[in-house]
Amino acid sequence: MKKDLVIIGGGPAGLAAGIAAKQAGIDDLLILERDGRLGGILNQCIHNGFGLHTFHEELTGPEYAGRYIEKAKELGIAYRLNTMVIDLGMDADGRTKLVTAMNREEGLFTIEAGAVILAMGCRERSRGALNIPGYRPAGIYSAGTAQCYVNMEGRMPGKEVVILGSGDIGLIMARRMTLEGAKVKLVAELMPYSGGLKRNIVQCLDDFGIPLKLSHTVVDIKGKKRVEAVTVAQVDEHLKPIPGTEEEIVCDTLLLSCGLIPENELSGALGVAMNPVTNGPLVNESLETDHAGVFACGNVLHVHDLVDYVSGEATEAGERAAAFLRGELSQTDKETLVKAGAGVRYTVPSRIAVDRMKATQVVRFRVGNVYRDAAVEVWFGDKRVNSRKKKVLAPGEMEQIILKKADLEAAGDLSEITISINEQA
């Protein structure tokens, strides 16, 4: 099979990318989705709060996804469900991408694609990555798995719950399980700040009187067959448990909400250069990886907290892939590096080719700590060109700055741009 464009993943990123590519004139495209339905993670996010930026109304996850699914169907975009992409490679010609997938009807098959958009989303960090000692009794779930049980299958994982990690999924699940009749006894967060949105802390915890303990972690899990209790302790500034602060909490369920990591096995198979901070591919201004014609967007690129940004980014990827297929995305070696300076963890993109840049370019980034009254600075080489005061910057909220093409052109041969945080500003 041959296709101009193959999109891997039918979540909000894959859908928006497909719609944009189709509207840019690419008809021969195919979305591959391993799940039985389009919409990705949004299908299990039944709470409201999606789409405030895009639609100016508060939609639930399935409703937000529904708008894109409808649009994709209206445009006649081809997709295959229950189809898992298992390998991604490059043909000997160095241009054709080989997408190997399987499903029950067709078995194993390979598609020769002119361009590929990676939109595989992310998955939750597993318990193994958390290093909790003790037995592994039943009753320990990742928050997202619990969300799937409750919201898709109508099953409750337990009655008395402790949640480790205050990421948004954990907070949302604290409310969900409380409403379903469970007792959520505590949300413990290792860091001195929550990784979740303020709004979720207020509406999911405070509204129901669920305590949140910052700088706390689970140090022990009791129970052989099923969780019977967990021991929670305070941690010091090095995140080490402080002896004597242990407290045992009786519960039958422990939910882990300890962050998400992009799902990049396929990018790895192709040998795409990765950013060790985001665990996602390194991309240029066109959201293109170091492999020409392979683009990335959404949570597979870097973890987003607002789906609106996912859709925006994916639209850009779809348009750029279309331009690539039309031969309009010139190859260039002249690139300016975009660097994460003091206080900034990463930037997307990480390099910009000025001649391929649009009039303006959004650079998204996250900070590594909570800052108050600090300035976001943009440096062209060793010259500071912009400084913008922010009342607050937090790791949980994605930030962005906008670069103007005219400014980069005026700066001439620019080798690097740095985004940094100045606390003394």
Partner: protein, 121 residues
């Protein structure tokens, strides 16, 4: 005089706002950085409202449950009652997104609608 503490959700700043209350009377609001914070706590005190999302059982559906929401916000104090009522409801597949699952929930004047479609099994 009673003191109540709030965290404003108006923007990422998340100001900690204190309100001095004399019965129903708001005497003072402190800690907000902008007027939106004052509006927010005033509403939280006078008439806190929330959109409620939950699930309703489905008979003969491809999924055993369908996700639902209140079509508008309802008083915060009615959330649990609303959930209790929804737990007793069972709808018949197929369900279309936007279908009214329960009209005028708990006398709030607000309908509960399906937020996804569930086909027949």
């Amino acid at each position: 005089m009673e003191k109540r503490e709030f965290v404003c959700i108006g923007c990422p700043l998340g100001c900690a706002i204190s309100v001095d209350l004399d019965g129903e009377q708001i005497r003072a609001i402190t800690g907000n950085t902008c007027p939106r914070g004052a509006d927010y706590v005033t509403k939280e005190i006078r008439d806190p409202r929330r959109i409620v999302t939950s699930l309703v059982r489905v008979a003969q559906g491809e999924l055993p449950v369908v996700s639902v929401k209140t079509a508008g916000d309802i008083p915060k104090g009615k959330i649990r009652e609303c959930i209790r009522v929804l737990k007793k409801i069972e709808v018949q597949a197929p369900v279309q997104m936007g279908d009214v699952v329960a009209a005028d929930i708990c006398g709030t004047g607000v309908d509960v609608i399906a937020t996804r479609s569930v086909e027949k099994e």
